[in-house]
Amino acid sequence: MSKAIEVHDLRKAYNGRTAVDGISFDVHSGEVFGFLGPNGAGKTTTVRMLTGIIAPDSGSIAILGHDIVQEPVRGKQAIGVVPETANAYDDLTAWQNLMLMADLYGLRRPAARRPAADLLEELGLADRRDQKVAGFSKGMRQRLILAMALLHDPQLLFLDEPTSGLDVQSTHLMLEILGERSRAGTTIFLTTHNMDEANRLCDRVGIIRAGRIAAIDSPERLKQAINRMFMIEVGFDRPVEAPVFAGLPGIDRVSKHGDTWRLETADTDAAIASVVAAARSSGARILSLSTLSPTLDEVYLRLTGGDA
């Protein structure tokens, strides 16, 4: 599998404070890679180094085979960027912003017009094309910034907190487009705080803590890697009291959540058999039964020092 991003022993310090402390990782071509971490962990500094906005103190970065420090223009030409804090030009219209990007990425105007119009359509901004960005809502601005990043059809897309603070409609639209791009083969490097987003979109996630990589793997494998008890959630057709579960094989702890019970177990098979037996003996029917595996939130909190 070819590599879209190769990072080796990357370091960056600001005024003697280490922001990124010798991180190394690869992102495979075509995958969606989530980059997670608490505020101040070094996420944005890492993304800025990967996108050639700031230079690392040491280490190497290859973006689609180009050393981003030695060949910044060629590296940047091949990528699209939605920076965390960037804005579109308020005094330009949506169309003028897109045409500025076309010029900056070397697209000839006749070739840029069609994809620009298509992107505005796709992102629900077609009717705003000739309006100045100053009058846009946050969601509209962010959709425009995504369009500006996609205009030159990059092979690799960096997004730093793309849906932070957005309304549901804009978030849904943006994630849908990212999904489509991913299916079409674009590699996506996504920095996010939103675990649900990372869980749904990412093939692999990297978790950074205090400038160092704490873990890299697929969301499912990371969840499995957490050595913890499993939960079974069960609902009955009539009220069932706690003593029904007392002493049953495989069940370690019981708690009530609304009209369901959560049973903690280290042996899912034995616990389910016990619950079914207990239901039969007490004359209750099971209405719902599900196993709850650890969430990515719990993995994240565990690996970044929070309490799961």
Partner: protein, 252 residues
């Protein structure tokens, strides 16, 4: 297949930056205020106090001030404005080199500085001033606009986020230059120390070209004026490109 890092392609991207600057920044107040109104008020105050000064002397001074103030009106604050508006990071992520970005900003200021010259020259012609050396005047205007535009972008090098800080710094440098560059008092009438100061100001050489082109007495040979203006332009442009490459990341 385009060569994104090639000179031609980077120049094309500089033009895109210049177009953006013209659309956004040159319709804002400072160009009108600093480029036309301040030179006009200084001109009126000076001409009322010097009723014996000739019209060509006054018009050449007005021309020098107008080009100088216009070319340096916006160029120092583009970088701080873009930092504050959070558009600079978008530019920094684009495949354009810092020298090409700086050149785009210089180009926009150059165009405005050169075009604004038509106003004082037009006023002069309307008042009966004869342009005796149009070619020298044109070359002087073009070189001066390039030189002052480069100086303006160079003034933006300190990575200040607030445009008013850079405005203050540039005013501290721009206004004294007006008084040591032979605009109000001819260089040849200055004391020895004043002539040394005047020789250090690029504005002196443009004022001198304007005087010569309008048939007035001037201090230096026009060829020397043009050569010194060209040298200042290269120095300011080169320094701006080099220093902005060092300070750009500190703004983000």
């Amino acid at each position: 297949m385009i060569r994104p890092a090639g000179l031609g392609e980077q120049l094309r991207r500089s033009l895109a930056v210049a177009r953006k600057d013209i659309r956004i920044y040159y319709v804002k107040g400072p160009v009108v205020i600093f480029g036309l109104l301040i030179p006009l008020f200084l001109f009126l105050a000076f001409s009322l106090g010097n009723r014996f000064a000739s019209v060509p002397f006054l018009i050449s001074g007005l021309l020098a001030m107008t080009v100088f103030f216009t070319a340096t009106a916006v160029s120092p604050v583009i970088f701080p404005w873009e930092t504050q508006a959070r558009t600079l990071e978008r530019l920094a992520a684009a495949p354009i080199t810092v020298p090409a970005l700086v050149f785009g900003d210089v180009l926009a200021s150059f165009l405005f500085g050169a075009l604004i010259a038509l106003v004082p020259v037009g006023i002069g012609v309307a008042l009966g001033v004869t342009i005796t050396s149009p070619a020298a005047l044109l070359a002087g205007i073009l070189l001066a606009a390039l030189c002052f535009a480069s100086l303006g972008v160079l003034l933006a090098v300190p990575p200040a986020r607030a445009p008013q800080n850079i405005m203050m710094l540039s005013s501290l440098i721009k206004f004294p230059l007006i008084f040591i560059s032979g605009i109000f008092i001819p260089v040849e009438s200055l004391p020895a120390w004043g002539r040394v100061l005047a020789a250090a100001s690029p504005l002196t050489y443009f004022t001198d070209i304007a005087r010569a082109a309008m048939g007035e007495a001037n201090a230096y040979p026009v060829a020397l004026d043009l050569a010194v203006l060209a040298a200042f332009s290269l120095l300011f442009l080169g320094a701006a490109m080099l220093l902005h490459a060092r300070t750009l990341s500190k703004r983000l």
